[in-house]
């Protein structure tokens, strides 16, 4: 076993150890054992930093990969399949080591921060235990080398998120939020699970490598539609975890959890897991699946941005910006800008964690006031928080010289290139939405900065009864008295909450990632995380043909620069030929980091996109800078110079304003359709079960007819099943026959004689005929 593997296993198990220690013994240890959590995470981070160093810095190789696995379940010699084992394993490549370092670092910082933020909570120790198990499962996702393991840790992440969101479980809102989060994730997970099943049913393995190999060899037995379905279904897991468009509703509510948790889980790591997973399965995604992913990402980015504009809760604004940024990443993956998306994942993790921790500091300082409308003027009181928060904001808005600028522009460039390659039209919607969201991001972040830090304190403006104003529950020990003298008692937070802010802010500077403040592609990250070659292009001949259909016309335009005739891009193109085709694009590819990794895309479409994406780099920079500038200017116009009064505007476009304020009514829609629907269905079925299990056929009719009497029927525990039905029939027949038994002797006599007479008649008729 490679030493790095051993180390990574240690890293994986350390947080679990911390969980086990703390969950059982936290009451018996001094300070409820928070130092144990911090210490263990420190160690874990140290080890993963060493791994990072060895993998990224020392062996500077894009293709670096070591793996190790063991047999977990041995199904013996299965008929029709042969020996069948389900293996668990660990893989370490550049992506893994980067994620490893990132997760442990942020987790460590959050642990540290929490020692200040959560001090004095009655479940202090349990909190750190939960952080431990979360880190454990997150590391599991990062390290595992097969779909099954990822699914396992995926669910475990869901569990720990459930536990942490509902940490203040006495609050009903928290309890609702945790349930909502878990269920929304479950919905995504079943999709993911089905995707896994589709792949397994063909290859009888869960391991990534073997699935890649089998697909590349074209062993996929089912039709191509199934493969696309598998891609989209797997992506559903990401939709759930990283709160993409239909299932994003749980993330904002998840802000009920403690703020450091929001920073760790709902900004930096867990939500990023979805993107990480899509990256892992990136090369098995068919173009159709990628289109779906791209569009969902774009929609998410745009929708969340529009919602974020009008939110008043400081954490909710950040939450929606998180959703929006995740949309960017997914969009990036969808358009094939693989490395850019992952780049954004890492940069976003840092500056968003910084933002959340900063907001946590603010909330802490403001005595658990979360409504931005009652803040303001904090600049003077908390300089550190202000500085770091602003830097992170700039990164989020994507201003030059920040890390966010590099990654976001790379994604947008990829989007433009993608739209070009796909032949424009509807596909241009994706970059357009991207740029528009960039502007909105700049706008609402500017708004937030201004409302929170500038102007002077508006605490006194806060109405005494805030239940009408604020739609979310506040922390339990939050009284009006606090709010009123809040402005005076506001003070900078202690060092253990300040240090993480500084570190994270420092990691939001461009220099960390790339020497060139304008081009992330020159940085080590995008060199180390090259876009892998897809395996589905050539895995399915018919798909290959389809590809040329889409790509050929565009290629025709490119051909003059390339010496290779267009047909070479056809399904019949051998890898060397199409490699030449890509090589035909000359220095573009050379300057493009992938060439160093000896990456030659055998799939013409992918080659096109990568190239076009690079070509569009500067266009993207220009446009996005303009949009961001626009956004910031708008924010200034509205909130600094007060040229436009937001209230007036809101009244002016009230429907739009409400639409955004109420988050596009997604919660209401789900409440009305899914939740209500399934509850009603459940009630109906249980009524159906209690009353008419027999006769499925007319059962349906009865369901519809008696729909109104469901609850009424509920109370009556009437006959169910055949047993009582038979009893019923016997009863009625008895009731009918009972009429004959009058108990009057004469009636019996009559009957007897009737019988006798009947016999007579019968007898004589026999005689006569």
């Amino acid at each position: 076993m490679h030493s790095l593997i051993q180390l990574s296993i240690v890293v994986l198990l350390l947080p679990l150890l911390s969980f086990i220690i703390l969950i059982f013994f936290n009451r018996r240890i001094a300070r409820n054992g928070d130092f144990i959590g911090v210490g263990i995470l420190g160690t874990a981070f140290g080890i993963s930093a060493y791994i990072f160093w060895t993998v990224i810095v020392q062996t500077y190789d894009p293709a670096f990969r070591i793996a190790w696995d063991f047999t977990w379940i041995d199904l013996g010699n299965v008929p029709g399949v042969g020996p069948l084992q389900i293996k668990m394993g660990i893989v370490i490549d550049n992506l893994t080591s980067i994620m490893l370092a990132m997760v442990t670092l942020i987790s460590l910082l959050v642990h540290l921060y929490s020692t200040g933020y959560m001090a004095g909570d009655k479940n202090y120790g349990r909190y750190f235990a939960f952080l431990g198990i979360f880190t454990f499962s997150m590391l599991g996702i990062v390290l595992s080398d097969n779909l099954f393991a990822i699914y396992i840790f995926w669910e475990l992440v869901g569990l720990s998120s459930y536990l942490l969101i509902g940490f203040f479980f006495e609050k009903d809102s928290a309890a609702d939020a945790q349930k909502k989060a878990f269920l929304a994730n479950r919905v995504g997970d079943i999709g993911m699970w089905l995707g896994i099943l589709i792949l397994y049913s063909q290859f009888h393995t869960f391991s990534f490598e073997q699935i890649y190999a089998n697909l590349a060899a074209g062993n996929f037995g089912l039709s191509n539609a199934w493969l696309t379905a598998a891609g989209i279904l797997l992506f559903m897991g990401c939709v759930g975890k990283s709160a993409q468009f239909p299932l994003h509703v749980w993330l904002p509510d998840a802000m009920e959890g403690p703020t450091p948790v929001s920073a760790l889980i709902h900004a930096a790591t867990m939500v990023a897991a979805g993107v990480y997973f899509v990256a892992r399965i990136f090369i098995i995604l068919t173009p159709d699946a990628l289109h779906v992913i791209a569009f969902i990402g774009a929609c998410t980015a745009f929708m969340a941005a529009t919602i974020a504009i009008t939110q008043n809760d400081i954490k909710r604004v950040l939450a929606y910006s998180t959703v929006s940024q995740l949309g960017y990443m997914v969009l990036g993956l969808g358009v094939g800008a693989y490395s850019a998306a992952l780049f954004h994942l890492v940069t976003h993790a840092f500056f968003k964690a910084c933002l959340f921790l900063g907001s946590g500091a603010i909330i802490h300082a403001m005595h658990h006031e979360q409504d931005m409308r009652w803040m303001g003027g904090l600049r003077k009181h908390m300089p550190w928080t202000f500085a770091t928060f602003t830097l992170a904001t700039l990164a989020l808005a994507g201003l030059p010289l920040t890390s966010g600028f590099l990654s976001k522009d790379a994604i947008l460039a990829g989007a433009i290139g993608f739209a070009k390659v796909e032949g424009g039209g509807i596909f241009y919607l994706i970059p357009v939405l991207g740029f528009f969201s960039a502007m909105l991001t700049a706008f609402y972040m500017g708004r937030q900065i201004w409302l929170v830090f500038f102007g002077d304190s508006r605490t006194h403006l806060k109405p005494a009864d805030k239940s009408h104003q604020v739609h979310h529950a506040h922390d339990t020990h939050d009284t009006h008295a606090d709010d009123h003298h809040a402005a005076h008692s506001v003070h900078e937070v202690s060092w253990n909450m300040r240090a993480p802010l500084v570190i994270l802010a420092a990691l939001s500077v461009y220099a960390v990632y790339s020497p060139d403040p304008l081009d992330g592609a020159k940085g080590w990250f995008m060199k180390m995380i090259p876009t892998p070659a897809t395996v589905v292009g050539e895995a399915n001949p018919q798909k290959g043909a389809l590809l040329t259909a889409t790509a050929a016309p565009h290629l025709a335009g490119v051909v003059p620069t390339s010496e290779v005739p267009a047909p070479a891009h056809g399904a019949t193109a051998t890898s060397t030929e199409s490699a030449a085709a890509v090589g035909g694009h000359g220095e573009a590819v050379a300057s493009h980091g992938e060439a160093k990794g000896g990456h030659l895309y055998t799939d013409p479409r992918q080659a096109e996109i990568v190239h076009a994406g690079h070509a569009a780099h500067y266009t993207a920079i220009y446009i996005s800078s303009i949009m961001v500038a626009l956004g910031i200017i708008m924010a200034f116009v509205v909130y600094v110079f007060k040229i436009i009064d937001p209230e007036k505007t809101a009244r002016l476009i009230r429907p739009l304003y409400l639409f955004s304020l109420n988050k596009w009514y997604w919660d209401e829609i789900y409440e009305a359709t899914v939740i209500r629907g399934s509850m009603v269905l459940a009630k109906i079925l249980s009524w159906f079960d209690t009353n008419i299990v027999d006769g499925m056929v007319n059962g349906v009719a009865l369901l519809v007819k008696k729909f109104a009497f469901v609850n009424d029927g509920f109370d009556r525990h009437v006959v169910d099943g055949m047993v009582n039905f038979t009893a019923f029939t016997v009863n009625t027949s008895g009731a009918v026959l009972k009429k004959l038994q009058t108990g009057k002797v004469q009636t019996y006599v009559v009957m007897v004689l009737l019988a006798v007479f009947g016999y007579f008649v019968f007898y004589f008729t026999r005689l006569i005929y």
Binding site: V78, F153, G166, R186, M679, S686, G721
Partner: protein, 544 residues
């Protein structure tokens, strides 16, 4: 060995018979000792079991030896009936991978059941005698390889169950008991007919005369070609399969025949619910695997699709019904209907993954649901109500209980790291891999979500939030200044006491351990299941 483990409880019952009924403690201890001894024997069997031997069908030379283990085979009843031929019934015990896991489960659950019967105060003597009889019968069903013997144990099982529900049950107990009894009897009557039919159509390859031996029946070549249930009588074979299947499906319980389960569970006392859900339901599916499928493989092949559909209905229907329940115990009952649906689905897949998953699910459902019912019993003892809405905020006041409930609930909704997940996952893997049941699997995946829904919802309503206005307990400020709760007329510990922990912790540990490393159980299953799949596969039938 097997005889000992089967009849040990009955011996204990006889001992109890001698004890004066005033000595409640002695009676309890005697049956506890018997249960523990059974457990020890089960562990010995587990140790001594060689997982490489497949079982299912006879070994080389048509004799069960070399395929089954711990075989005990002596002629029991052998009559010469003149023209009818001769009636040979054997006392024939033996285990293979399928039964040995169930034997372990039975021993475990009955031991737990005895512990949880400690609170029974009414007619302790009679209760424990019946209980031990029940334990013996269940164990006998799992180890007997002679159809007649199996049938005898199967019927013996009904009687104590009827009384245990009907005497020690809740307010509506007679109704529930009668319903249970009628349903199961209805099934077993048909079983009797099929059994006779099989007897007349199967020849023992060794002795050459008719036999009830399931081992001989499992080999299609032992059937007389033109006998009533011989290979030629396709129609009768279908009829026999369906009738037998219904007989077992009632025990499972499968969808249209499941209505006895909620009533029985709601009325039955906690230990009996534990036994019922933990072991009895498994007998249905065990019967299918041991008798129904291998004896009529071609019919099974033809009806996979139907079984799968019923499995899916069980999963989703049960989950939805559970979602609508107000009574916690009824919810758990419906959840076990839903979970048995997974077993059916896995069986209908007809491939190794699915069947291993189904068997493993049987085992896990045994432990997990036993845990759920015990937990329901705990709160019912304290609050004398099971209405979910009568609680709230319990997590603050009963932390240990809340923690264990959380683990159990998550185990039941199939959280990875707990045993339930692996079995469900394997079931789905299998069901999806077989083209027959692929779409069914795609539908029944919904069950995962609904399962999570009702469990989390009940968890929230009972444990999270604050005490409800009409809760079944009061709040009071304790000596240490913290809030405590106290239930009316409950003298004992508010949180779990030693006995309850002794029942719950072992199950908890088993659930977690098997969730992390399933091989100790799966390892015993695989070879038998692979053999079974071979027996059921169309290839084998084509040369039959």
């Amino acid at each position: 060995m097997l005889s000992l483990i089967v009849f040990l409880p009955i011996i204990a019952g006889l001992v109890i018979l001698a004890v004066p009924s005033s000595q409640k403690q002695i009676i309890r201890i005697v049956s506890l000792l018997a249960a523990l001894a059974q457990g020890v024997l089960a562990v010995l069997i587990w140790k001594g079991y060689d997982p490489s031997l497949p079982g299912i069908t006879a070994g080389p030379g048509g004799s069960p030896l070399g395929s089954f283990q711990f075989v005990e085979k002596v002629p029991w009843i052998s009559l010469h009936l003149g023209g009818f031929g001769s009636l040979n019934i054997e006392y024939f015990l033996g285990v293979d991978g399928i039964s040995v896991t169930m034997v372990i489960l039975t021993a475990l659950v009955s031991a737990i059941g005895v512990l949880s019967s400690w609170t029974i105060q009414k007619q302790v003597k009679g209760y424990f005698i019946l209980y031990n009889l029940l334990a013996s019968a269940m164990m006998g069903c799992f180890v007997s390889l002679d159809f007649f013997l199996f049938y005898v144990f199967w019927e013996i099982m009904l009687l104590p169950m009827y009384f245990l529900i009907g005497i020690w049950g809740g307010p509506n107990r007679e109704y529930a008991a009668i319903k249970f009894f009628l349903y199961t009897l209805f099934g077993s009557v048909f079983m009797l007919l099929v059994m006779i039919g099989l007897y007349l159509s199967v020849l023992d390859p060794v002795t050459g005369n008719h036999t009830f031996s399931l081992v001989a029946m499992a080999t299609q070549s032992n059937f007389i070609k033109d006998a009533i249930l011989g290979p030629d009588n396709v129609m009768w074979r279908y009829v026999a399969f369906i009738v037998l299947f219904i007989g077992f499906a009632i025990k499972v319980p499968m969808f249209p025949f499941h209505t006895w389960l909620p009533d029985a569970h709601v009325e039955a006392p906690t230990p009996i619910s534990v036994i019922l859900a933990g072991v009895l339901l498994k007998l249905g599916t065990y019967g299918m695997i041991r008798i129904n499928f291998p004896l009529f493989p071609e019919v099974f092949q033809a009806s996979m699709y139907v079984i799968g559909i019923f499995g899916a209905i069980n999963i989703i229907y049960g989950a939805l019904c559970a979602l609508a329940q107000q009574d916690l115990k009824k919810m758990v009952a419906y959840s076990s209907i839903s979970h048995m649906g997974y077993v059916l689905l896995g069986l209908s897949a007809g491939n190794s993954e699915g069947m291993v998953g189904a068997l493993y699910q049987m085992f896990n459902h045994g432990t997990i649901t036993a845990m759920l019912f015990l937990l329901v019993g705990v709160i019912y003892d304290r609050a004398h109500t099971r209405q979910i809405d009568k609680f709230g905020g319990l997590a603050s006041y009963m932390p240990v209980y809340a923690a264990i409930v959380t683990v159990a609930w998550f185990a039941s909704l199939g959280l990875p790291g707990l045993s339930g997940f692996i079995s469900e996952a394997l079931v789905f893997v299998g069901a999806f891999s077989s083209p027959t049941t692929r779409y069914i699997a795609m539908v029944s995946v919904l069950g995962i979500v609904f399962g999570a829904a009702y469990l989390l919802w009940s968890l929230q309503r009972m444990f999270l939030g604050k005490r409800k206005a009409d809760a079944a307990y009061d709040l009071e400020i304790g000596a240490d200044g913290h809030e405590h709760i106290h239930f009316h007329d409950w003298k004992g510990k508010i949180d779990l006491d030693g006995r309850e922990l002794a029942m719950l912790v072992p199950l908890l540990l088993i659930t977690i351990f098997l969730g992390i490393y399933p091989m100790p159980v799966l390892g015993m299953l695989t070879s038998s299941i692979n053999k079974l799949v071979q027996v059921l596969s169309p290839v084998v039938m084509s040369q039959m």
